[in-house]
């Protein structure tokens, strides 16, 4: 009896955990299955078919919104990753200096405020600028996405930097490498996995955003999530399931990649 006693056991915990994992995946599984439904309604099964994928692919609004999402996402991800890398270099591997705490707070500020508040704030601010300058392009969405992606890109880059000591950089400097050369040949290659992880995280966060985009976008600037929100509010067709399934596949691919990049130790 005593030999079977497991110190790690807690009654019911395994059952709750199992339920959690099932419940997390069940709705997603149903959603994906119904994307392959031949019937026109989402409440009955009419056999296997790819018709809803085809119909989504032929829907110019869907394609437009997807391309816009990718455009905003890639520009915002690249910009926020560059800025986050610079900021991470400026805030790690140093003794505390005046303003360091302020920088941490400022960089993480977008995480502390509910999205709805940021959305409203940007709506007001950008509508003023629109009246003032007459410009109403994608620039506003890109600026907004870059701002809220910075703290996400910053996380893995900072984590990576904190695990790198300055020995190699000091050695390079001893061998008369210029600061720029040291950065290019030593710091950047070592930091690269963190930067890649930050880039992917920023891209996914931008791609997923609904609330801020909903408030900032001008007419005809729907991204894929805001287009889907509009459709879901109007009533659902299996086409939304098909779009969601494609979107899911992309997210899972990126997470898998992220997992391997950020877990790689050397």
């Amino acid at each position: 009896m005593a030999s079977n006693f497991s110190i790690k056991h807690q009654p019911g915990f395994t059952a709750i955990a199992a339920t959690c994992f099932v419940v997390l995946y069940l709705p997603i599984a149903v959603l994906v299955i119904y994307a392959f439904n031949a019937a026109s309604s989402t409440s009955e099964w009419g056999g296997f078919s790819l018709r809803w994928f085809q119909s989504a692919y032929q829907n110019t609004q869907v394609i437009d919104a997807t391309l816009r999402s990718f455009q905003i996402g890639s520009i915002a991800a690249v910009l926020s990753t560059i800025f986050a890398t610079m900021a991470a270099l400026a805030t790690t591997r140093t003794a505390s200096y005046p303003g360091l705490t302020f920088k941490y707070a400022a960089i993480n500020q977008p995480l502390m405020v509910p999205e709805i508040v940021t959305g409203v704030a940007l709506l007001i601010f950008f509508s003023r600028i629109k009246i003032f300058t007459g410009y109403s392009g994608l620039g506003y969405l890109i600026a907004a996405h870059t701002a809220f992606c910075i703290p996400f890109a910053y996380l893995p880059i900072r984590a990576r930097l904190e695990n790198m000591d300055l020995t190699l950089e000091r050695a390079a400097a001893d061998l008369y490498a210029t600061p720029w050369k040291t950065f290019r040949r030593i710091t950047l290659p070592l930091l690269w996995p963190g930067i890649l992880a930050g880039l992917m995280l920023a891209f996914v966060i931008s791609l997923d955003d609904v609330v801020i985009t909903e408030f900032v976008k001008s007419g005809g600037q729907d991204t894929l999530p805001t287009y889907m929100l509009g459709q879901i509010r109007r009533g659902i067709t299996p086409e939304i399931n098909a779009i969601s399934t494609a979107f899911l596949l992309l997210s899972v691919a990126i997470v898998t990649l992220f997992f391997f990049v950020s877990r790689k130790r050397d």
Partner: protein, 306 residues
């Protein structure tokens, strides 16, 4: 000639200056497209609504008065605005219940994950991370398909003869609650797991050696040690739940508004931007209070855990 000390000081000053220059672009973008506009919201909350949206540049504290009060149109007396109070209480209640529900489910899940062997832990972590990274709108939509009248839950209940007509879950507070608990669960599990992973099970063993029961070990040893993770998870769930927009819009229908929907209304049909601004600031104040409580708690427990 500069002394060595002066040279070192100058180098340090240069280093700090360079570090400011390096962080300038990130700080500037965040100030322009996140922090700065919040100040404008504060200014707008003290202005007069314009006839077609936007504002007139005329000071007024009406917006702040009408966050919770309403003026009688006949005798000008102030009374509690029942509609707003209802929405405030509903939002806070739903956010608190969501936090408790995700904690009740997430704590055992994190414990389960942390007690697996080193090799399989990564797999479980991966399984929690996927939903976390999956679009929130898509996950909400997935919940909608499960709980609606023609959904899988009602179909099973009808087929088994447990109910004779579909149970109306969609477009109720329960639907919002189920949806929020579902989408925010990973946010609770991940920080608790991070604390739990570092848990030293020799302490648990010591507890059993001293004849503690399982529940006592859980309450007096495990829970206090992972408390920072529990607090972090609760904050991570409470903040987005309080300001939730997507979940109540999709699962709550038009009637069951939460704070975010009330705010959106003021910038749309309501055409009362100052009131929308005042409501936004109010949401932020509630969040700040929650964050301060967190910082104070984290500070206290930080002493013991280094």
């Amino acid at each position: 000639m500069a002394t060595a000390e002066e040279v070192a000081k100058a180098a340090e000053r240069r280093d700090v200056r360079d570090r400011w220059l390096l962080s300038a672009p990130a700080l500037l973008v965040i100030f322009l497209a996140a922090t700065g506009p919040l100040l404008i919201v504060l200014v707008y909350s003290f202005l007069t609504p314009g006839a077609y949206g936007d504002v007139k540049w005329q000071f007024s504290s009406d917006a702040w008065t009408s966050v919770l009060l309403e003026r009688d149109i006949f005798d000008d007396t102030l009374s509690l605005a029942a509609a707003h109070v209802t929405i405030f209480l509903r939002s806070i209640k739903l956010a608190v219940v969501t936090t408790i529900a995700t904690l009740a489910l997430g704590f055992p899940t994190a414990y389960f994950m942390a007690t697996r062997s080193e090799k399989t832990r990564d797999l479980w972590l991966f399984l929690i991370t996927i939903p976390f990274w999956t679009n929130l709108l898509i996950r909400t939509f997935a919940v909608l398909q499960i709980i609606r009248n023609e959904g899988i839950i009602n179909t099973i209940l009808l087929k088994l003869g447990i109910v004779s007509a579909p149970v109306q879950i969609l477009y109720t507070d329960t639907a919002i609650l189920i949806g929020m608990a579902y989408v925010y669960l990973p946010l609770m599990v991940l920080p608790i797991y991070a604390s739990m992973e570092k848990l030293d099970f020799r302490l648990v063993e010591a507890g059993y050696d001293l004849y503690a029961t399982r529940f006592r070990v859980l309450r007096r040893i495990i829970f206090p040690l992972v408390k920072p993770g529990v607090i972090a998870g609760s904050i991570l769930v409470f903040i987005p739940a309080l300001g939730a927009y997507v979940t109540p819009s999709v699962l709550g229908g038009g009637k069951n508004m939460m704070l975010s929907n009330l705010i959106e209304l003021q910038f749309g049909q309501g055409r009362n931007w100052p009131l929308g601004s005042a409501l936004s600031i109010t949401v932020m104040i509630i969040v700040m209070v929650a964050l301060l409580a967190y910082v104070r708690n984290a500070g206290k427990s930080g002493v013991r855990h280094g």
